[in-house]
């Protein structure tokens, strides 16, 4: 089964998506912010694996101490996603694993002119919705994106008109 895990920083800024299959890494798509923060780590993981801190109790040693050690989970292993999620959690990054339907909804949410936090909460809400509700939500999200796009187009035209007037005024000054 293919899983998509969406990543966000502590301010809910979208970092990108990691696609895995049965827990093993397939590929990652990072946003600009995600590239800045995570690209070096992802590169390192591909070569050396994801660092995971393990702990073992030593019952045979007096005082039964707990020993911590680090091991690496290779990206092709099925434990990759689990290890990566742990790493993200330890580094203040929220990792939200979603199914295909929610992922499609997210592609529209990401285009909406909302605050990162509002997008994040919308995603989490949709993640808990039933399949039939999701289909209806997707339709609504598409309509919302279209409504926002329409306003953006109007704004672009108004700004172009403003600069056009300014240019006309300037040319008139120097050709008089």
């Amino acid at each position: 089964m293919i899983e998509a895990t969406l990543l966000f920083d502590r301010h809910h800024v979208f970092f990108g998506e990691i696609e895995s299959h049965g827990g093993a890494f397939r590929h990652a798509m990072l946003s600009e912010a995600g590239e800045r923060r995570l690209e070096p780590n992802l590169r390192e993981w591909q070569v050396r694996g994801v660092p995971v801190l393990r702990e073992v109790a030593r019952p045979n040693v007096p005082g039964h101490p707990t020993v911590y050690f680090q091991e690496r989970v290779q990206v092709r292993e099925q434990h990759f996603l689990q290890a990566a999620r742990l790493w993200f959690e330890n580094h203040g990054i929220a990792a939200v694993t979603v199914n295909r339907d929610v992922l499609r909804c997210w592609s529209y949410i990401a285009q909406l002119p909302l605050q990162p936090r509002e997008r994040f909460l919308l995603l989490i809400s949709l993640r808990g919705s039933r399949h039939t509700d999701l289909l209806a939500c997707e339709k609504t999200l598409i309509e919302a994106v279209e409504a926002a796009d329409m306003e953006r187009t109007k704004t672009t035209k108004a700004i172009e008109k403003l600069w056009d007037r300014a240019a006309k005024e300037l040319v008139a000054q120097f050709t008089a």
Partner: protein
């Protein structure tokens, strides 16, 4: 009457504050608009920059208003949907992000996971 070159942009010092406090994005918008007009080649650089600076606040205001309108338009469409979705308690600064994620995860998965649901 003598032609005032300086007020029309010629001969103005490029070292002055006008030349330094400048957003090239606005100048680019003005230059794009200027290309549509015959005689735009006669407009000196300093006059272009001055005009760009003069118009920039209006452009910014339009952009800001446009963003607000786009958000309002999207929210109007989403409103009905949001009412049907599960609502979540808003975390505050003291409770922090970990609480929020755990809380949301717990709500989703029906388990405690430190969310104390």
């Amino acid at each position: 009457m003598a032609f005032d070159h300086k007020s029309r942009g010629w001969g103005a010092s490029p070292e002055g504050p006008e030349a330094t406090e400048f957003d090239p994005h606005h100048l680019a918008s003005l230059l794009t608009a200027l290309r549509r007009y015959e005689g735009s080649g006669n407009v000196p650089r300093m006059a272009q920059e001055r005009q760009a600076k003069k118009v920039a606040p209006q452009a910014k205001e339009l952009m800001e208003l446009g963003k607000q309108r786009a958000t309002k338009a999207a929210m109007t469409v989403l409103n009905g949907m949001l009412l049907r979705l599960p609502t979540f308690a808003m975390p505050n600064e003291e409770q922090g992000r970990a609480w929020e994620v755990n809380y949301l995860e717990a709500r989703q998965e029906g388990s405690d996971r430190n969310g104390h649901i």
